[in-house]
């Protein structure tokens, strides 16, 4: 059993309290935080390398056998997501050196705790432990959202927290119902037990499964559960918002995980119970997201709705629950995480260069580094809107292709493409105002614009944008990996066998 599997959780879990102990030394804090993030990245790469062989590796915490203790599971999917998180975290950590980390208290501790929560949610193989890590992730995100204060952030924060508390409540109801019927919490064990549930309890089980789906859908900002996202992410400090780009994906990840492993093809009375709900909701999400992009008057709002829109695309792909769909969904997950984060960082970089105009989509005097900013924005917008040659285009292509067998293929194509056009319109309007129209504004404007030119934050944004380019260039190899991941998801038997081992038949064994 490789202890490295628990490392993505333990590293930040130790880094954060250490950061508390050195809270009076900001420079040391930065070093500790960066070092922990770098370590996390290294571990993420190593774990990915480990998972690439297709073996499912369980990690039995406390040496207790599954399903009695808590088990972490490293498979292709969790390794991919952990690596993605680490990559994103590295960029965000770099960006926060902008001075963001000093705008309030405990930024780095909260940041590390947030990473711990995300990684825990990605690695755990236990539904209640998933709840716990969701809470860790959420409460850290509350802290990060509120970092630096300000009235908007507080209002948005209250909404975000309140809605998520209802989500947490729902999570407990769902877990309770599922436990009440099956008597277990371990996902692999659930996969076994759920398939054996008889008709008498099917209604309860289905209700539990659907409520669980709603919990994840809330995190994934699926309409009509998306309300919190535009306000919260728009109000969040840029690095926080960028880090949050992964949180919606954790929601999507959980849908993929739970509804392939437990309530997938072998889900008995609750097989594919969520599938009929996802597609229509995802299509509406696309529409709302695109409308929001077009409606936004402020850059960061536009980015927020673009994120909603991208979640719609992603979940359309998820809804098929087949190899092509999951491959597309996973690719889109990688893509939209990187590009969402990049756009949040960029919108902040742009806003800081525009003086009192900030992110307002109105002409202002031309900003410092307008060329560079414009270029980055152009690339990021292309990627987000799904125009070639960046990853958004590839992702869209894959989703459209995956939709082919669906009975609603026509609708899916129409809505995906039509909303793409709307998003293109929105981004082109924003870009022309920010970079072109602004250049046209009288240069002799009395108000000098600020000149924040620091390398670290720029590097972070550039790295993320280049990430989408790399995803596009290496779409073939990446997709092959993701295809293998999708295949692994669609065949839960090895997962179940790896986690439960021979315990299924062997009575009550002692500690491993």
């Amino acid at each position: 059993m490789s202890h490295w599997i628990v490392a993505p959780i333990v590293i930040p879990a130790f880094a954060a309290p250490l950061l508390l102990l050195v809270r009076r030394a900001p420079h040391l804090q930065r070093k500790v935080s960066l070092a922990a993030t770098a370590l996390l990245l290294a571990v993420g790469i190593a774990l990915y390398g480990l998972a690439m062989d297709g073996t499912v590796r369980p990690y039995f915490l406390g040496s207790w056998p599954a399903p009695y203790g808590i088990v972490l599971v490293l498979d292709r999917l969790s390794a991919t997501m952990v690596l993605l998180t680490a990559v994103l975290a590295s960029a965000v950590a770099l960006y926060s050196l902008n001075g963001w980390d000093e705008k309030g208290h405990h930024f780095h501790s909260l940041f590390q705790f947030q990473l711990m929560g995300i990684n825990g949610a990605l690695l755990t193989g236990d539904v209640f432990n998933l709840f716990v890590f969701f809470e860790v992730m959420l409460i850290a995100s509350y802290g990060l959202l509120l970092h630096g204060g300000g009235s908007n952030r507080l209002r948005a924060g209250f909404q975000y927290v309140a809605i998520n508390l209802v989500g947490s409540t729902l999570f407990l109801v769902a877990v309770g119902l599922i436990y009440g019927v099956t008597g277990t919490l371990n996902m692999a064990d659930l996969a076994v037990k759920v398939s054996q549930v008889t008709g008498d309890s099917a209604a309860i089980l289905r209700t539990g499964a659907l409520l669980l789906f709603l919990v994840f859908a809330l995190k994934a900002a699926l309409v009509p559960l998306h309300w919190w996202l535009p306000t919260a992410y728009a109000a969040a400090p840029a690095p926080s918002a960028a880090l949050f780009a992964i949180m919606t994906k954790v929601g999507a990840y959980c849908i993929i995980r739970v509804f392939t492993l437990i309530f997938g093809a072998d889900g008995g009375a609750a097989a594919f119970v969520a599938a009929p709900w996802i597609l229509p909701a995802a299509l509406v999400t696309l529409l709302i997201g695109a409308l929001g992009v077009l409606a936004s008057r402020v850059l960061v709002d536009l980015v927020c709705f673009a994120v909603v829109w991208s979640m719609g695309s992603l979940l359309v792909a998820v809804s098929f629950f087949d190899a092509q769909g999951l491959t597309a969904a996973l690719y889109y997950t990688l893509h939209s995480t990187l590009i969402g984060a990049a756009l949040f960082l960029l919108s902040n970089l742009i806003a800081t260069r525009r003086g009192r105009w900030h992110g307002l989509l109105q002409p202002s005097p031309s900003m410092v580094q307008a060329g560079l900013m414009g270029g980055l924005f152009f690339l990021a917008a292309i990627a987000m809107a799904g125009l070639p040659p960046l990853s958004g285009f590839i992702g869209k292509l894959m989703i459209l292709a995956a939709a082919w067998p669906s009975a609603l293929a026509g609708w899916i194509w129409a809505i995906v493409l039509a909303t793409s056009l709307v998003v293109i319109v929105g981004f082109s309007r924003a870009g022309t105002v920010l970079f072109w129209k602004s250049e046209a504004v009288d240069a002799s404007h009395p108000e000098p614009l600020p000149e924040p030119v620091r390398i670290a934050p720029l590097t972070a944004a550039i790295l993320l944008v280049s990430g989408t380019a790399l995803l596009a260039v290496f779409a073939g190899p990446v997709t092959r990996q993701l295809e293998a991941t999708a295949q692994q998801l669609l065949d839960p038997a090895p997962y179940i066998a790896a986690v439960l081992g021979e315990q299924q038949t062997a009575g009550l064994p002692g500690r491993r």
Partner: protein, 959 residues
């Protein structure tokens, strides 16, 4: 070098001009020329193979799983178009070097130009239709940049956006169409698809696919009714217009029709749609061109018209028409590029492009004038020029074309198109170059430097050459290209010649020529006619559509995202209800047989109290303090329920957590409004009541449904293993610190984060608006003593006693109800009592450990306990325990789980102290009068508090 690099050379080359511009404009232009020349050389190197009937290919996998590969091939059509793109591109680069003013950022211009060039080459050389779609969208993007190059011009920005929206949107249609096509044909490789035309045309999906592809082609080629974007794109610098609208961008649509001709063409619907759209476009474009005063606008609409002509030819679906189309593509590219450039020269030299302000330029700038007149002549279709030849071919094809069974309508309208073409060409030529020399040009015009006119001359050369010696110059190209267009079919016999005898085409041509001149003469009358017609609406409709979409989406988003939490909650809870009910209804259910427990009196009482409390809370929640008291009641009831149903640990945890929550809420309520205003509106209350009632019914019903069934749970293992495996008899505690210790690890981290977040939140409230509001906060009547003597004395006595209880609860937790969490809360309660009785500062001063440090140590202690198992090569959090024996003391147990629990304990104490002391600190800001310093407000002479202060540890500021 492989031809795979052909599109990439310009694309990558685009990186360099912006860097080179620092070395001067000539270097920059050279750097731009280099990749173009390189690509051209690479292309021409393939020409011999292609002209020998071969095809050059290169293929790399990109996304094979989804049919996307990087496949490049050069056949006749690709070679023809790529040659045109690169060749004219070369001229444009030279021309632009002299055209752009020193103020224009030339590096950027060339970068965009190369991007565009690469994308165009990619479109025409793609052997994979998805790759084609990729490059297709890239041309939209790069043309967006080119059209918007002059950012200061509002027209440029709007034009660029419009072009992007129309062509980019068309690109999306095309993408869908090509995906469909690939599905139908079973391959995305063009060379394979081209073999499967019959299969494609027989597919039931042929029509939707065709419509989508045509949507892409028509938008790109500015076909009616999408023609409106093209003239607005003329805001771009002239080299851009010359490039985009003569040889490249707009031709992409025509290229696509030609490329897919073997697969798509020939069906009835193809002919009906394509030829009609082409015909209409030809007429509409020409008609509008006739009345424009801006030279570029004339050329733009003329381009629209000529694109319509080509589309119409391809739409006829006959091989001969295809040959004509190819020939006209070539001819149009030459004369139109030359015309655009010459207009640029005029604009550059005379300072205006307005036809009304020009005239007689032939005499002032003879070189330009001559070249322009020749090109215009070709556009008009004058004999001896190449435009004449292809127009003849067109008319010939039109003469034989029947549309929907009608034999004369196409020839008539085609002749009308030719007529208008003659008319606007004449107007352009005569009004600008001929006629009297004027004295009021904005600039005195004269011939430009050779750099500007030489490219024009280079283009005019083939105009004449083909016009005079078509067979010699053009046959090879046209036939090879046409062969590629018509695919497998045999190339029809055609002869490129000046004289075909008296054919219908000749008659039509003469008619058109005469009529055209007539129209030119009668221009004013025609103009009056035009003015009496309704004005063209396309752009207005487009603008109105976009702005309506923006307004509409703003209204929709504003209506949906009101920012109202109650509304969001109503929607969310409603969704949960709907999905939950649907989920339940979709499965089968029958109640279980589990025997129910009999109701007893205490339980019933607690139940009644809970229900009553709920009711009173709903009715009286406006009084916040009352609501708080009621919620404390509920907490008591719930913990009693836990106690009743054999969960002592839960009862202990619930009440101790509740009291801290209550104190926290009281601290907050001190600074919040004391009452909640009554809400108006019974409908609203009814709605909320209905939602709440349904939710309650649902969850209560589910709980009951589950409780009627029996449960086989994994927890029998926990019960069995608790003592032998976990070393404790309190199974709940062993689960918490051992079986599921990882949950608890997460849980204390939640607490730690909560404390940190609270700390950070409140720390910032000591500044800014919040601080001002705090300072101006008016308190109600207050008691004079902040620290009543009796309270102080009793809590002080209680402190060691309660701490002892805390230790007791901690130590017994593993075996009996209790544990680190409850113990932590008990200790926190003991310390809180001190703070309440004697004041925050007084109590904080006496605490020995900083709450931050306590938090950190708590998490670290728990984590290190987990990590310690690595030393024994066991997974994280593997516990161990042992029984030890000491003299006097006897046997006792030590378990690593206790160290873990100690971490829990520390975290809990730290969390409570940090949060509550922080909020108390904020509350202290609202004090009007200085609060007497603790411990008691009443001092007795013999009691020397002063001495104590000296002995006490120094005051700790939490940070």
């Amino acid at each position: 070098m492989t031809i795979a690099f052909l599109p990439l050379i310009p694309l990558l080359g685009a990186l360099f001009p912006p860097l080179a511009i620092k070395s001067g404009r000539n270097v920059c232009a050279l750097v731009t020329l280099l990749p173009t020349v390189a690509a051209l050389v690479l292309l021409l190197a393939a020409a011999p193979t292609v002209y020998a009937g071969g095809v050059v290919r290169a293929q790399y996998e990109w996304l094979p799983q989804f049919g996307l590969s990087y496949s490049i091939f050069i056949d006749g059509l690709g070679l023809f178009f790529a040659g045109m793109i690169l060749g004219i591109g070369l001229l444009i680069i030279i021309y632009a070097r002299y055209y752009l003013s020193p103020k224009d950022p030339m590096g950027r211009f060339y970068a965009y130009l190369l991007l565009f060039q690469g994308a165009m080459v990619g479109v025409v050389l793609s052997d994979n239709i998805l790759l084609l779609a990729t490059f297709w969208e890239l041309t939209s993007l790069s043309s967006f940049l080119l059209i918007g190059y002059w950012r200061h011009l509002p027209g440029g920005r709007q034009g660029a956006r419009m072009a992007l929206v129309v062509t980019g949107g068309g690109g999306l249609l095309l993408l869908a169409g090509l995906l469909l096509l690939g599905r139908i044909a079973g391959s995305y490789e063009l060379s394979e698809i081209l073999q499967r035309g019959d299969m494609v045309r027989a597919s039931p999906l042929y029509v939707p696919m065709l419509l989508l592809v045509l949507g892409g082609a028509f938008t790109k080629s500015a076909q009616f009714p999408f023609h409106f974007w093209l003239p607005h794109a003329m805001a771009a610098p002239t080299p851009v217009s010359a490039y985009l609208h003569s040889a490249t961008m707009v031709k992409a649509g025509v290229f696509l029709l030609a490329r897919l001709w073997p697969v798509l063409a020939g069906t009835e619907i193809w002919i009906l749609i394509v030829s009609l759209v082409g015909l209409i476009t030809m007429l509409v474009g020409a008609w509008i061109a006739l009345f424009k005063d801006d030279l570029k606008a004339i050329l733009a609409y003329s381009t629209v018209s000529h694109l319509g002509l080509m589309t119409m030819l391809l739409g006829f679906g006959t091989p001969m028409a295809a040959v004509a189309a190819v020939f006209h593509i070539l001819n149009h590219a030459t004369f139109k590029a030359a015309l655009f450039m010459s207009v640029g020269i005029v604009d550059h030299e005379a300072g205006t492009r307005d036809i009304r302000r020009l005239g007689g330029l032939l005499y002032l700038m003879p070189i330009t004038g001559t070249l322009a007149l020749i090109a215009a002549g070709s556009m008009a279709g004058l004999p001896l020029l190449n435009g004449f030849l292809s127009k003849e071919m067109m008319l010939e094809e039109a003469a034989h074309a029947a549309y929907a069974g009608n034999a004369w309508i196409v020839p008539a309208l085609a002749t009308l198109g030719a007529l208008l073409s003659v008319a606007y060409s004449a107007r352009l030529a005569i009004k600008v170059y001929l006629g009297p020399v004027r004295s009021d040009y904005p600039h005195p015009p004269h011939d430009p430097p050779a750099g500007l006119w030489l490219p024009v001359a280079v283009l005019v050369a083939p105009v004449i050459a083909i016009g005079l010696l078509p067979a010699l110059v053009a046959t090879r190209v046209v036939s090879q290209t046409a062969l590629a267009v018509i695919g497998g079919e045999p190339l029809p016999i055609f002869k490129l010649a000046l004289w075909h005898g008296v054919t219908p085409a000749l008659l039509m041509s003469i008619l058109a020529f005469a009529g055209g001149l007539g129209a030119f003469v009668a221009w004013s009358a025609l103009d009056r006619l035009r003015l009496s017609l309704p004005p063209p609406e396309a752009k207005r409709i487009f603008d109105a559509t976009v702005s309506a979409a923006v307004t509409g989406s703003r209204a929709a988003i504003a209506a949906l995202h009101t920012g109202s939490l109650p509304r969001y909650f109503a929607v969310i809870v409603g969704t949960i209800l709907i999905v939950g009910i649907a989920g339940f209804a979709s499965g089968s259910y029958s109640p279980g047989m589990r025997p129910m427990l009999p109701v007893n009196a205490p339980a019933f009482t607690v139940w009644a109290i809970l229900i009553a409390t709920c009711a009173v809370t709903i009715a009286a929640h406006g009084n916040r303090l009352l609501a708080l008291i009621l919620s404390s009641m509920v907490g008591l009831g719930v913990s009693l329920a836990f106690l009743q149903f054999s969960a002592p640990d839960l009862a202990l945890t619930q009440i101790s957590a509740d009291v801290v929550t209550t104190i926290l809420l009281l601290l907050a309520l001190n600074l919040l409004p004391r009452t909640t205003p009554r809400e108006t509106g019974h409908a609203r209350k009814f709605r909320d009541g209905a939602i709440a009632g349904l939710a309650g019914l649902g969850i209560g019903g589910l709980a009951y449904a589950v409780m009627t069934t029996d449960l086989q749970s994994i927890s029998s293992y926990h019960i069995a293993q608790s003592k032998p495996g976990g070393g404790g008899t309190n199974v709940v505690n062993v689960i918490l610190v051992d079986f599921r210790g990882f949950d608890t690890f997460g849980e204390i981290i939640v607490l730690c984060i909560a404390a940190l977040a609270i700390y950070a939140l409140l720390e910032s409230s000591l500044r800014g608006a919040a601080a001002r509001r705090l300072a101006s906060m008016r308190q109600g009547i207050e008691a004079a003593d902040a620290h009543p003597l009796m309270l102080v004395v009793v809590t002080r006595v209680l402190l060691p006693l309660v701490l002892t209880v805390g230790v007791y609860i901690f130590l017994r937790g593993h075996n009996l109800p209790g544990g680190g969490f409850v113990a932590g809360l008990v200790v926190a309660i003991a310390l809180l009592m001190q703070a309440i009785a004697s004041g925050y500062e007084w109590a904080a001063m006496r605490r020995r450990i900083n709450a931050h440090t306590m938090l950190a140590l708590g998490v670290l202690a728990a984590g290190l306990t987990g990590l310690a198992s690595f030393l024994f090569a066991r997974p994280f959090l593997t516990s161990t325990f042992g029984y030890f024996h000491l003299p006097v003391i006897g046997e006792f147990e030590l378990a690593s789980a206790m160290a873990f629990d100690a971490g829990v304990f520390l975290t809990v104490v730290g969390t409570v102290l940090l949060s509550l002391s922080q909020i108390a600190r904020v509350g202290a800001r609202a004090e009007r009068n200085p609060v007497p310093e603790g411990p008691s407000d009443i001092r007795f002479p013999q009691r020397a508090d002063a001495a104590v202060s000296a002995a006490a540890p120094t005051y700790r500021q939490e940070d």
